[in-house]
C-alpha cells in the first residue's frame, strides 16, 4: 500500500490492531480508508505463530497428535481426524467400521460446535448480543459429550492413529440422540431471532460478495465457496471415514454475500444433525483400532489427505523418511487461504462491513498462524 502523507486528506490509514474484540483472535488489519469507505486492506498475521510444523519434525507421530488440536482450537476434533487420516494413509491402514462411525459422529458434533461459535461471535460483532448466549449454551451440551467420551472439552485428542483409543461410554448413543432431538428446534430458534430480522438482513445482504470464479481463483473453500453457488463438499467429492454411507445434502446459495454464508452454515448445522442421527442409529460392532503396530514407522513416502473441516479444506501433507518422526508435516489451513480473500471482499465497503466480513469468513487465528 502506498504511504499516506499527513497532507493527504482523502486517505486515512487506520490500524485495526491485534487487540480488537471483533477480529476473532489476534489479527491486525491495516485499513486504507477514504472517510468510512475502505479502499484497501493489508492483513498482518503471525501473532499466534507457534511453529507447529517445526514441532512436528521433533515428535513421533503419536506424540504429535495432541498438538494438532491446538491449531483450530474451536473445532479440535476435525484437526485430529485429518491428521490421523493422513498418517493412516501413509501406513496404508484403514480404521475399522466402528471407529469410522464414531469418528463421524464426533466430527459432525464438532462441526455443529464450530458453527455455533461462528454464529454467536458473528452475531455479537454485528451487534446482536442474544444469540451468543444461546449458541454457547447448546455448545455446552456438545462439549459435555466430548468430555464424557475423551476427557477434554476443547483440545480433545479424541482419535488415535489407526482408530480410537476409548470405547464409547455407556449412554453415548442416548446422549447423542438426546442432543439431536434437542438441537433441531434450537436452530429454528436462532433462525427466528435472526433470519428475517430487518437489522440482520440489512447488515448482511450485499456485503462482502465473492463470486464463484473469485473463490476458485483465491482457493477459498468451505461455506464461503458453497455460498457462491459451487456445490462442492469434500465429504461428497472424495469421501473419507465412511461418509459415503450417509445421506445428506450440500446446502448452497446464489449470491455469495454474507447473508448467504449465514444461510449455508445454518443449513449445514441441520445437515450435520441428520448425519449424526443416521450414524448413531447404525454404529457397527467390532474393534476400534486398526492394525497398527506399537511403533508407528511408515515407509518412506508422502501423502496429502484433506478433509472438509467446518472452515474449509483442511489438508495434511505428511512426508515420512522411514523413521518414527514425520520428516515434514505441512498443514494446509483453510482459514489462512480464506483470509487472503478479505482484501477482495471489503473493497468498496464500509468499516462496519470489514467486521462483518471477518466474521463471515470464520477464521480462527490458531489455524491461520499455526
Amino acid at each position: 500500500m502506498p504511504d499516506a502523507t499527513f497532507l493527504d486528506s482523502t486517505e486515512l490509514v487506520l490500524n485495526m490492531g491485534p487487540q480488537h474484540p471483533s477480529t476473532h483472535g489476534v489479527l491486525r488489519v491495516i485499513l486504507k480508508l477514504d472517510g468510512e469507505k475502505v479502499l484497501g486492506t493489508d492483513c498482518v498475521i503471525g501473532y499466534l505463530h507457534r511453529g507447529v510444523e517445526k514441532i512436528a519434525e521433533n515428535r513421533t507421530f503419536a506424540q504429535f497428535n495432541p498438538y494438532v488440536d491446538r491449531m483450530d482450537y474451536v473445532a479440535a476434533v476435525s484437526n485430529g481426524l485429518g491428521y490421523c487420516l493422513a498418517v493412516e494413509k501413509l501406513l496404508n491402514v484403514e480404521a475399522p467400521p466402528r471407529a469410522q462411525a464414531v469418528r463421524v459422529i464426533l466430527t459432525e458434533l464438532n462441526r455443529i460446535a464450530s458453527h455455533l461459535v461462528w454464529l454467536g461471535t458473528h452475531a455479537l460483532d454485528i451487534g446482536a448480543i442474544t444469540p451468543v448466549f444461546y449458541c454457547f449454551r447448546e455448545r455446552e451440551e456438545a462439549l459435555k459429550i466430548f468430555e464424557k467420551y475423551c476427557g477434554a472439552r476443547l483440545t480433545t485428542h479424541a482419535f488415535r492413529i489407526g482408530g480410537l483409543l476409548y470405547e464409547t461410554y455407556d449412554g453415548f448413543e442416548q446422549d447423542v440422540r438426546d442432543f439431536c432431538a434437542m438441537f433441531g428446534p434450537k436452530v429454528d430458534e436462532y433462525e427466528e431471532l435472526l433470519t428475517n430480522n430487518r437489522i440482520w438482513v440489512s447488515r448482511l445482504k450485499g456485503v462482502g460478495i465473492l463470486s464463484a470464479e473469485e473463490c476458485k481463483e483465491y482457493g477459498v473453500t468451505g461455506p464461503v465457496l458453497r455460498a457462491a453457488g459451487v456445490k462442492w463438499d469434500l465429504r461428497k467429492a472424495q469421501p473419507y471415514s465412511g461418509y459415503e454411507k450417509y445421506d445428506f445434502e450440500i446446502p448452497t446459495a446464489q449470491n455469495g454475500d454474507t447473508y448467504d454464508r449465514y444461510i449455508v452454515r445454518m443449513q449445514e448445522m441441520r445437515q450435520a444433525v441428520r448425519i449424526i442421527e443416521q450414524a448413531v442409529a447404525a454404529i457397527p460392532e467390532g474393534p476400534i483400532m486398526g492394525k497398527v503396530g506399537k511403533v508407528i514407522k511408515p515407509a518412506v513416502g508422502e501423502a496429502y489427505v484433506s478433509i472438509e473441516a467446518p472452515k474449509g479444506e483442511l489438508g495434511y501433507y505428511v512426508v515420512s523418511d522411514g523413521s518414527t518422526q514425520p520428516y515434514r508435516c505441512r498443514v494446509r489451513p483453510p482459514s489462512f487461504v480464506n483470509l487472503q480473500a478479505l482484501d477482495r471482499m471489503v473493497r468498496g465497503g464500509l468499516v462496519a462491513d470489514v467486521v462483518a466480513i471477518i466474521g463471515t469468513i470464520d477464521i480462527v487465528l490458531g489455524e491461520v498462524d499455526r
Partner: protein, 151 residues
C-alpha cells in the same frame, strides 16, 4: 399490503423478542454458581495427575518402567529409581511432573502398563509460584488441595 404492515409494526423484531422473553422463566437459568456449586466433570476427564497407591499394602503401584516419560510429547516427566538387590526389581525414588508445561493430553496415562499414573478429575491446580507447578512424588500421590469455599 401485508408486507407493509409487517414492516411498520416491526413484526420481525417482535418475533425475535418473543424468543428472548420466553427464556425469562427461572427454570431456564443456566448459570452455575461456582465455587459453591462445583461442576460435575466426567469420569474420563483429564485433569490433575495422580500416582496411585496400592490399597492393600500402601506402596506405590509405579514400577519405574519410564514409559510415561517416553510417551510424553513435552518430556516433562522425570522418573528416577534404584534397584532393590533383594527383589531384583526397580523401586521408585523420585517422580517429577511439571504441570506448567503439561497439556493434559493423556498419553502418559495411556502408556502406563500398571495404571499407576492416572489423570484425575481435579482441575483446581493453581499455585502462587512457578516452582509450585512442578510436582514431586508426594504432591502427585496426594493430589492438589484447593481451598474449600463455604458460603
Amino acid at each position: 399490503m401485508g408486507k407493509l404492515l409487517r414492516k411498520i409494526f416491526l413484526v420481525d423484531l417482535f418475533q425475535g423478542l418473543l424468543v428472548t422473553f420466553r427464556y425469562q422463566q427461572p427454570k431456564y437459568i443456566y448459570t452455575e454458581r461456582y465455587p459453591e456449586q462445583r461442576p460435575k466433570v466426567a469420569e474420563r476427564y483429564r485433569g490433575a495427575p495422580r500416582l496411585n497407591i496400592n490399597p492393600d499394602n500402601g506402596e506405590t503401584l509405579c514400577i519405574s518402567c519410564n514409559l510415561c516419560a517416553l510417551a510424553c510429547p513435552e518430556a516433562l516427566i522425570v522418573v528416577t529409581s534404584e534397584r532393590n538387590e533383594t527383589t531384583k526389581r526397580k523401586e521408585l525414588t523420585t517422580f517429577t511432573y511439571d504441570t506448567s508445561r503439561c497439556m493434559f493430553c493423556g498419553l502418559c496415562e495411556d502408556a502406563c502398563p500398571v495404571d499407576a499414573l492416572e489423570l484425575t478429575q481435579d482441575f483446581e491446580m493453581a499455585t502462587y509460584t512457578r516452582e509450585g507447578q512442578i510436582w514431586d512424588r508426594q504432591m502427585l500421590e496426594e493430589g492438589p488441595k484447593p481451598t474449600q469455599y463455604k458460603c
